[in-house]
Amino acid sequence: MREINYADALNEALRECMTADENVMIMGEDIGLYGGVFQVTKGLIEEFGPKRVLDTPISEAGFVGASVGAALTGLRPVTEIMFIDFTTVAMDMIINQMAKMHYMFGGRGRVPMVLRTNIGAGRGTAAQHSQSFHSIFAHIPGLYVIAPSTPYDAKGLLIEAIENDNPVIFVEHKKLYIEKGPVPEGRYTIPFGQAEVKREGSDVTVVATHAMVGRSLIAAEQAAQKGISVEVVDPRTLVPLDKETILTSIRKTGRLVVADEGHKNCGFGAEIGCLAAEEAVEYLKAPVARVASPDTPVPFSPPLEQAFIQDEKEILLAVEKVAQYA
């Protein structure tokens, strides 16, 4: 199959949906002529025009709220927030409006919109342009939270998100935009709530998200050389969560490492670790291990930022640690 990168896969998903449904529109800062700071919307304004590809002022609360209002009244907005760090200025519209309307209104009114944004450190952009607090959205009922780790998943999950009648927080990863992988032409969807076992193994389960998936696969390869068989499970959607696939793997291996780029405290790693303690404790042969970003802001200085980022090294260490327990 032809290989394209994650950004182009997302671009194809947008083009597919905009061609199929004229009510789909995209908006955000610099998504038009500029094509998006990560080039995900490249070429779309030329194809669909400035109304369906709308460059917005710096008014995230305003245009996220406008997306909610538009979604309530017949459009299907796909709205970009340039970095997840900036979702903070629109947080009321996300947490109190977008997430809650369908419930508050007793099922009257739907909010079929997608909020696209991205996480990830490693580009030297410091504390306000490198965060990974996607777990915050998983804590708020009423939002689907999506975490694609490959170009294939990115396209299939985005089409599903746009066609879904509920509000979706679609969390991309900066460092993955230029990663290539096989992606089918045309429309296909990946249903929410279906984790994928990205590698099978029998000794240790690594539940990994976003860029941590690729890093876990590298660590798994290295572990294999040391005789440790690692299973890598990618939830793909944090909400809804495919608990069964995750628990099945944990019950099989009895050892759990959770690798998520968010901060450690009260993050997605905590949720999975607690899930194991609630529903698979009798199978656990070793302590659960979290590979997470430290509980510090993201530093600018390259060596500090590299130390901040947890990669295959830390994952391998965690795998070896839990593997020691018989």
Binding site: L72, G74, L75, G107, R108
Partner: protein, 327 residues
């Protein structure tokens, strides 16, 4: 602006419907029949009535925490409203929303809102949607004086004017945000002057004069339908009750009895009744019958609410997401 006799009567009837509904809520609340928070609209009826008089069921409104008047003027059914305030499953939101979250997409009520200033961006989105879809639907966005200090006001008016969206921003300036008087929350008197910051027309009217509101919003709605963009209309008015039922002595912590009395003398309803009678648009006996029938309507709404069931506990878990067949 020419105005039909039927419309004049509609304005009167709508104000009275709001007045009597709110008085009933005040009473029910005092007797503990209505749980939670109730922010009453008493004294401000002319604003909702004068504004919504220009809207059809396909048009939109966004409302506020003080929303009963807005949704009644937009055509909400008192039975479902009352049932919602009681928390009954027959209410507009199956009892899940309550006073601050009444919504009905069928008649363009995009929801009351518990966030002060939260409705403005949503109204802009509805306006954008109407414009993009090429309909002539207009959105009226209600909000208060203190809410005009929320950043959403700025972002919404900027965006709406930039794209000439069919939105009418109606600011209900009742001189207070809870206990904070306008002089303590903003350095201006006429909020309509803020329209100029967005190259948008702005006008201030007497919010206790239903015809003045009707005129101003009417022109704004015409501009909106003609694709000429949004307008900011400020209506000066006053809430008779405390911020919410339970605010001691109608807000005695921060307002004087004299101030409250002076505004009660500006009651928009008798003032408009006199106009109708002297203009021979209606006899006072006709107006009496209107009130009677509305009293009956409210009695029925209370009966409906009382007779309705609370939602069953499984309702706690439904509607978090809309689950289409097969998803």
């Amino acid at each position: 602006m020419k105005i039909q006799k039927a419309k004049l009567l509609w304005l009167y009837e709508t104000m009275v419907r709001i007045r009597l509904f709110e008085e009933r809520i005040q009473d029910l609340y005092a007797r503990g029949a209505v749980p939670g928070l109730a922010h009453l609209y008493l004294g401000e009826e002319a604003v909702a009535a004068g504004a919504c008089a220009h809207l059809g069921p396909e048009d939109y409104i966004t409302s506020t925490h003080r929303g009963h008047g807005h949704v009644i003027a937009k055509g909400a059914d008192l039975k479902y409203m009352m049932a919602e305030l009681y928390g009954k499953v027959s209410g507009y939101c199956k009892g899940k929303g309550g006073s601050m979250h009444i919504a009905d997409m069928e008649i363009g009520i995009l929801g009351a809102n518990g966030i002060a200033g939260g409705g403005l961006p949503i109204a802009v989105g509805a306006g954008m949607s109407a414009a993009w879809r090429g309909t002539d639907q207009v959105t009226v966005c209600f909000f208060g004086d203190d809410s005009s200090n929320n950043g959403t006001f700025h972002e919404s008016l900027n965006f709406a004017s930039l794209h000439r969206l069919p939105v009418v921003f109606v600011c209900e300036n009742n001189l207070y945000g809870i206990s904070v008087s306008q002089t303590k929350h903003q350095p201006i008197k006429d909020i309509s002057i803020r329209a100029a910051a967005y190259a948008m027309p702005g006008v201030t009217v007497d919010g206790n004069d239903v015809l003045a509101v009707y005129e101003a919003v009417g022109e704004a709605v015409e501009r909106a339908r003609a694709g000429e963009g949004p307008t900011l209309v400020e209506a000066k008015t006053y809430r008779w009750r405390g911020h919410h039922e339970g605010d001691p002595n109608q807000g005695a912590r921060y307002r004087t009895k004299e101030e409250i009395q002076s505004w009660k003398r500006k009651d928009p309803i008798p003032r408009f009744a006199e106009h109708l009678v002297s203009a021979k648009a209606a006899t006072s006996s006709k107006l009496k019958t209107v009130e009677k029938s509305i009293e009956k309507e409210i009695d029925e709404a209370v009966e409906f609410a009382n007779a309705s069931d609370f939602p069953t506990l499984d309702e706690l878990y439904t509607d978090v997401f809309y689950l289409a067949e097969g998803r």
